[in-house]
C-alpha cells in the first residue's frame, strides 16, 4: 500500500505540478509571441514614420537646394558664388546619402520602391538640369538660367513632390493598418492570458486540496514514526549510557595499565642500568683477573728465580761444607800429628827418665815438644770449635735453605693455586659478564617492548577517550534525537491538517 501510495503520490505530484508548469509555459510562450508580434507591428510603424520623416526631410533639403540655386543665380559675388556652390555640392552629397538610405528602407515595400525609382529618375533629370543651370550661371547667362528654372526645373520639382506625397500617403496607410493589427493582437492576447490564468488557478486549487489530503496521511505516519523514534532514542540513550560507563571504566583501567607499564619501564631501565654497571664491574674484574694472572705468573717466575738462587746457595753451602770437611780433615791430620807429637814427647820423657841425669836436657826438650803438641792440640781444638760453629752455621743455612726451598715450594703451590683460582674467577666473571650481557639485551628488548607498548597504550587510551567522547556525542545525539522526536510531535500537533 505504501509503495503504491508513494508511486502514485510521486506521479500525481509530478502530474499536477507538471500541468501547472506546462500551463504557465504555454501562457508564457503565448504572451511572448503576442508581445513579439506587437513589437514587430510597432517596429513597422516606427519604420514607416521614419520613412515619412525622411521623405519630408528630403523635400526640405530639395527646397533648400532650390533656394541655394536661386541665390547662386542672383549672386554677383564670385566668392559667395563659390561658397554657395560648395554648399550645394555638400548638400547634394548628403541628399544622395539619405536617398540611398531611403532606398534601403524601401526594399521591403516593392510597390513603393518602384515609385521611388521613378522619383530617382526624375531627380536625376532635375539634377542634370541644375548642372546645366550652373554652367549657364557660370557663363553669365542668368536669364536663361532663370528660364530653365521656371520651365523645366519647376515642373520637374512639382512632379517629384507629388510622387513623394504619394509615397507618403502609402506609408500613412501602412501605419494605420499596423495600428489596427496591433489593437487586435492585443485583444486576443488579453483573452488568452485571462483564460490561461483561470485554468492555472483551477489546477492549483485542485492540487492544493489533493496535497492537503496527502499531507494529512503523511503526518499520521510521521507521528507513528516519531513515537517509535522516541522509544528508540530512549533505548539508545540507555545503551549508550551503559557503553559510556564501560568506556570510562576502560579508560581508567588503561590509565592504570599505562602507569604500571611506566613503572615496569622504569624497573627495566634500572635493571638495564644495573646490568650495565655490573658489566663494567665484570670488565674491571676481568681486567683485574688478567692482571692477577700476570702477577701470579711473575710470582711463579720470581719463585723460580728464588729457587735457583736457593740452589746456588745450596751449592755454595755444599762447597762450603766440603771445604769445611777438608779443613776438618786437615785439622784432624794436624790433631793426629799433635797426638803423635804428644806420644813422642811422652816417649821422649820416658826415655829421658830412664836416662836419669843425662836425660834432663832431653826431658826439657821432651817437655817443650809436649807443650808444642799441646798448643797444636789447643789450636786444632779452637779450629775444630770454629769448624763446629761453621758447621752449625752451615747446618742452619742448609736448614734455612731447605725451609726457604719449602717455602718457595709452598709459595709456588700457593701461587699456582691462586692462578687457578684467578682462572676460575676469571671464567666465572666472564660467564657472569655474558649473563649480564644477556640480561642487558633482554632488558633492552623489554624496554623496546615497553616503548612499543607505551604508544600502543597511548593509542588505546586515545581511542578509548575518543570512544568516551563518541559515546558522549552519541548520548547527546540520542538525547537530541529524543528531543527532536518530542519537537516533531509538537510540530505535528501544531501542523494540524
Amino acid at each position: 500500500m505504501k509503495s503504491t501510495f508513494n508511486i502514485s503520490t510521486k506521479a500525481k505530484l509530478f502530474l499536477g505540478f507538471g500541468l501547472i508548469i506546462v500551463a504557465i509555459i504555454l501562457l508564457s510562450i503565448l504572451s511572448f509571441v503576442s508581445f513579439n508580434n506587437i513589437n514587430n507591428a510597432q517596429t513597422g510603424m516606427f519604420k514607416s514614420m521614419q520613412m515619412e520623416r525622411n521623405l519630408t526631410e528630403f523635400k526640405a533639403d530639395e527646397n533648400r537646394q532650390m533656394l541655394t540655386m536661386l541665390q547662386i543665380t542672383i549672386s554677383k559675388d564670385p566668392t559667395r558664388t563659390n561658397e554657395l556652390k560648395k554648399q550645394l555640392v555638400d548638400k547634394a552629397a548628403l541628399i544622395a546619402i539619405s536617398l540611398s538610405l531611403i532606398e534601403n528602407e524601401l526594399q521591403s515595400y516593392p510597390v513603393q520602391l518602384q515609385k521611388f525609382n521613378e522619383i530617382k529618375v526624375q531627380l536625376k533629370r532635375y539634377i542634370e538640369n541644375r548642372e546645366k543651370r550652373l554652367t549657364l550661371n557660370d557663363a553669365g547667362k542668368i536669364e536663361e538660367s532663370i528660364n530653365m528654372a521656371r520651365e523645366i526645373e519647376g515642373p520637374l520639382y512639382e512632379k517629384i513632390r507629388m510622387m513623394i506625397l504619394e509615397i507618403e500617403k502609402d506609408f500613412s496607410d501602412i501605419i494605420d493598418a499596423e495600428k489596427a493589427k496591433t489593437e487586435s493582437l492585443t485583444q486576443s492576447a488579453d483573452i488568452t492570458i485571462i483564460i490561461g490564468s483561470m485554468g492555472i488557478i483551477l489546477l492549483s486549487i485542485i492540487l492544493i486540496f489533493w496535497m492537503i489530503r496527502m499531507l494529512r496521511k503523511i503526518s499520521v505516519e510521521i507521528r507513528n514514526g516519531v513515537n517509535i523514534l522516541g522509544t528508540s532514542a530512549s533505548e539508545i540513550l540507555t545503551t549508550v549510557t551503559e557503553v559510556s560507563t564501560g568506556a570510562t571504566e576502560t579508560a581508567t583501567a588503561i590509565s592504570e595499565t599505562t602507569t604500571t607499564i611506566e613503572e615496569i619501564r622504569q624497573t627495566a631501565l634500572m635493571a638495564s642500568q644495573k646490568a650495565q654497571s655490573v658489566l663494567e664491574n665484570a670488565q674491571k674484574a676481568s681486567d683485574a683477573a688478567e692482571n692477577g694472572k700476570e702477577s701470579v705468573q711473575q710470582t711463579i717466575e720470581g719463585m723460580y728465580r728464588i729457587n735457583q738462587q736457593m740452589n746456588l746457595i745450596a751449592d755454595s753451602i755444599v762447597k762450603l761444607s766440603e771445604k769445611n770437611r777438608s779443613i776438618g780433615e786437615i785439622t784432624s791430620t794436624v790433631n793426629d800429628i799433635a797426638d803423635q807429637s804428644n806420644l813422642l814427647a811422652v816417649n821422649a820423657a820416658i826415655e829421658a827418665a830412664k836416662a836419669g841425669e843425662q836425660g834432663r836436657g832431653f826431658a826439657v826438650v821432651a817437655q817443650e815438644i809436649r807443650n808444642l803438641a799441646d798448643q797444636s792440640k789447643q789450636a786444632t781444638a779452637q779450629v775444630r770449635e770454629i769448624l763446629n760453629d761453621i758447621q752449625k752455621a752451615v747446618n742452619l743455612a742448609v736448614m734455612s735453605t731447605e725451609q726457604g726451598s719449602k717455602a718457595v715450594e709452598n709459595g709456588s703451590i700457593l701461587a699456582r693455586k691462586s692462578g687457578e683460582m684467578i682462572e676460575i674467577l676469571s671464567d666465572t666473571v666472564t660467564e657472569a659478564a655474558q649473563s649480564v650481557i644477556q640480561i642487558s639485551t633482554s632488558s633492552q628488548q623489554q624496554m623496546a617492548g615497553m616503548d612499543q607498548i607505551v604508544p600502543a597504550m597511548e593509542n588505546i587510551k586515545q581511542a578509548s577517550e575518543q570512544n568516551v567522547i563518541g559515546t558522549k556525542q552519541t548520548q547527546t545525539a540520542a538525547h537530541n534525537l529524543s528531543e527532536l522526536g518530542q519537537n516533531l510531535k509538537i510540530i505535528i500537533e501544531k501542523f494540524n491538517v
Binding site: D339, Q340, N342, L343, A345, V346, N347, A349, I350, A353, K354, R370
Partner: protein
C-alpha cells in the same frame, strides 16, 4: 759466726795441699799418667817402654776377655790387655783414639789400653796415700797408691808379674 768460721778454717787447712819443693829430686818418681775413664791412673815410667796410638789391633779368639788382642809394633807382636776388664771397670769400647802403653819388665811385655795419655809427671812417694778399700773393684795389689792429685798409681811390678794375665795356650 765465729765458731763456724773456725771450723771451716780448720777443714780448709786439712784439705789444702801442701806445697812440695820441686827441687827435691831424690825421692821423685817419673810417672806416666793415663786415663781410664773416669779415673786417672799412672804407672812408673821405668816400666814403660813406649807410648803409641792404637792401630790395627787383631783380636785373638780363645783368649780371656781382658786380652783385647795383639798388635804389630815395628815388627814385634805385642799382646794388648784391656785393664778395664781386669779392673772390672765399665767397658766403653776400643777405638783408634785409645792409646797403648807398652809396659815391660824383664821379658814380660804387653800393652795396656788407655783412653788417653795425660803426660808424664813427677810423683813423690811420700805424698802417696793408701787406696781406699772399695775402689772400683780393682785388686788392691795392683795399686801402689794415690797421689795428692787423685791419680791412682799402679804397681807396675805386680801388674807385670801377675800370673792371671798369662794366657796359657795349652
Amino acid at each position: 759466726m765465729n765458731l763456724d768460721q773456725k771450723i771451716l778454717r780448720a777443714r780448709a787447712k786439712e784439705i789444702s795441699r801442701h806445697k812440695i819443693k820441686q827441687d827435691d829430686m831424690a825421692e821423685s818418681l817419673s810417672v806416666v799418667e793415663f786415663l781410664l775413664i773416669p779415673e786417672r791412673y799412672g804407672i812408673e815410667s821405668k816400666y814403660v817402654s813406649e807410648v803409641l796410638s792404637l792401630r790395627e789391633m787383631t783380636p785373638i779368639p780363645g783368649t780371656p776377655a781382658f786380652v783385647a788382642g795383639v798388635m804389630n809394633v815395628r815388627g814385634k807382636i805385642v799382646s794388648i790387655l784391656n785393664l778395664k776388664l781386669l779392673f772390672n771397670l765399665k767397658e766403653r769400647g776400643i777405638t783408634e783414639l785409645n792409646k797403648i802403653i807398652l809396659v815391660r819388665m824383664d821379658r814380660m811385655e804387653f800393652g795396656i789400653v788407655t783412653d788417653a795419655i795425660a803426660g808424664t809427671l813427677k810423683v813423690y812417694p811420700n805424698t802417696l796415700s793408701a787406696p781406699p778399700a772399695n775402689l772400683h773393684g780393682i785388686n788392691a795389689e795392683y795399686i801402689q797408691g794415690i797421689t795428692p792429685d787423685g791419680i791412682i798409681l799402679l804397681n807396675g811390678e805386680n801388674l807385670l808379674t801377675n800370673k792371671t794375665i798369662i794366657v796359657n795356650q795349652k
